[in-house]
Symmetry: C2
Subunit: 319 residues, 2 copies
């Protein structure tokens, strides 16, 4: 636990000089610079971030705020990406989780005001109840009416991509299953309608099913609703992970007469991969990277806050 004083003493200079060479914040003669560096090296000096941040009146930590439940994303991957990018920029990543009865604004605000982080990355799927004023970036669709910076997965692009893929393999009656919990479900619907129109396919409201949650049970229910009516659809886009597997299972159960069905899951979770479903893959790596970069920009005031949409790619699996 060597302090800056120890280094200064060892190098025979004052603490200010040490600070200058370490932060390169003032011109220092090459010879003393060498001496200081050597002393720091030798003592294995690590500047105390707490003291540094306190002095600088700005934290070098970014906070990631998790929703109170498990989100339908590759949290591990996203976290890793954020950490990697933040580390590269000299920042650390703090993780906080929202209790189910807690307000997002409250937690974010407190984290910021306590000086624990300089900014927040928000993973809430639902909009905030109160307006946030600190430096925050949304990883999901931010509340309407605000122009908060965000980096999001765009369901419109996803739906369009899926419809095109289906059409290329000759499918005509394409269903859509939406999850109400998915922020930006409206985007999926929008992209779906657009792609149908562009592909000159008829729109049939019976082929659109709205689900409450994104889990297996909800998928079963949605599948039953979808496959009950006649004529059956021959392809389905499911804007969810577990939801898609549920739909698949419902189809297997329903069609003893072996209807052919193509299915694309909206999020390529391990569960989806295990079930052997085709799925849309979102660039998690880039997601985390952009989130951090947006936040850093916001903190430095370099660029105005932006809204970035991520594009998925399709991974085809044989069921």
């Amino acid at each position: 636990m060597a302090t800056i004083k120890d280094v200064a003493r060892a190098a025979g200079v004052s603490t200010a000089t040490v600070s200058y060479v370490l932060n390169d914040s003032a011109p220092v003669s090459p010879t003393t610079r060498e001496r200081v560096l050597a002393a720091a090296q030798q003592l294995n000096y690590q500047p105390n971030q707490l003291a540094r941040n306190l002095q600088n009146q700005r934290s070098t930590t970014l906070a990631l705020v998790l929703p109170p439940f498990e989100p339908e994303i590759d949290l591990g991957g996203l976290l890793r990406a954020c950490v990697a990018r933040a580390t590269q920029a000299g920042y650390a990543v703090l993780v906080t989780a929202l209790a189910s009865d807690q307000s997002l604004a409250e937690l974010a605000q407190r984290t910021l005001e306590r000086g624990m982080a300089a900014g927040c990355i928000l993973l809430q799927p639902h909009g905030a109840d109160q307006p946030l004023n600190g430096p925050c970036v949304w990883a999901t669709w931010p509340p309407h009416g605000t122009h908060a910076p965000a980096v999001v997965c765009d369901g419109a692009l996803a739906a369009q991509r899926a419809v095109h893929a289906f059409q290329r393999s000759g499918r005509q009656r394409i269903g859509l299953v939406l999850a109400a919990t998915t922020a930006g479900a409206a985007r999926w619907y929008l992209g779906y309608r657009r792609a149908l129109k562009a592909g000159r396919l008829p729109f049939d409201p019976e082929l659109v099913v709205q689900s409450d949650t994104d889990d297996l049970a909800a998928g079963h229910a949605a599948g039953e609703a979808l496959f009950a009516g006649a004529p059956l659809c021959d392809a389905v886009i499911v804007a969810g992970g577990a939801l898609a597997v549920g739909v698949q299972q419902a189809h297997l159960r329903a069609s003893a007469h072996a209807e052919s069905l193509q299915l694309i899951a909206g999020f390529d979770t391990p569960l989806v991969a295990g079930a052997g479903l085709s799925a849309l893959v979102w660039p998690v790596e880039r997601w985390g990277q952009l989130l951090v970069e947006q936040l850093l920009n916001l903190l430095n005031g370099h660029t105005p806050p932006q809204r970035t949409c991520l594009e998925p790619s399709l991974i085809v699996r044989s069921t």
Copy 2:
């Protein structure tokens, strides 16, 4: 951004008094206590953690150190559990990730020495190259020869449980697939041998396959090795997640003659669930909780460091 001074001024007392009532570190008269509390409330005062930690010479942050690759565990769940428990104890959670060329000891040491965290939770599947001296708790089997505190998933218990389950359903020839990357693979083997002996089942070395990694491809290879020999086994324990799915796929491919096979995956990942495999479920919630508690104990010096083994439960799925 109200400081302690603002509160003191508003309440008409000194900063020390404010500190006393907020930390309950000295007796204060009820009337002034009320005044201070009211002022703090009114100004929405949040104590600056940086200053507090600097003064107290101890951080209220715990660091979670991730391995350079994606581990075969429910990172999201574990993280959430750690955060929940830490928050409850007034601690925050910092996440750092090891670069592939970085030494674990180096990263942990630096994190600690920079004052960014008071202790570390280590998620490395492989033992450390250098000895660690800071307050650290392992979430995996720690390096041999050390008596570092740890909270781990015990493969011996898992294997025993699986063998018993197989035996109850009349299986006699039980295979075992090990992943070399899984720290504590030896424990799985140990439990397997023990359970066979206890169940008076013969041990056949041909039924044990060692795999290099824990992924689908490795599972295919392991499955082929296992199902090539005759007579075939009628049950397999796979000490992995993706690995188990690979073994399953290999079996489906190999046995056109529809051999019945029971399979239990060692880790119930979403991938495993999606594939509909029976699996062992580890108590992630408790895992995170215990890791944090062990670390806090270590920091407070309340109890000596311990090694805790987690027990899995079996979830049966119909393939």
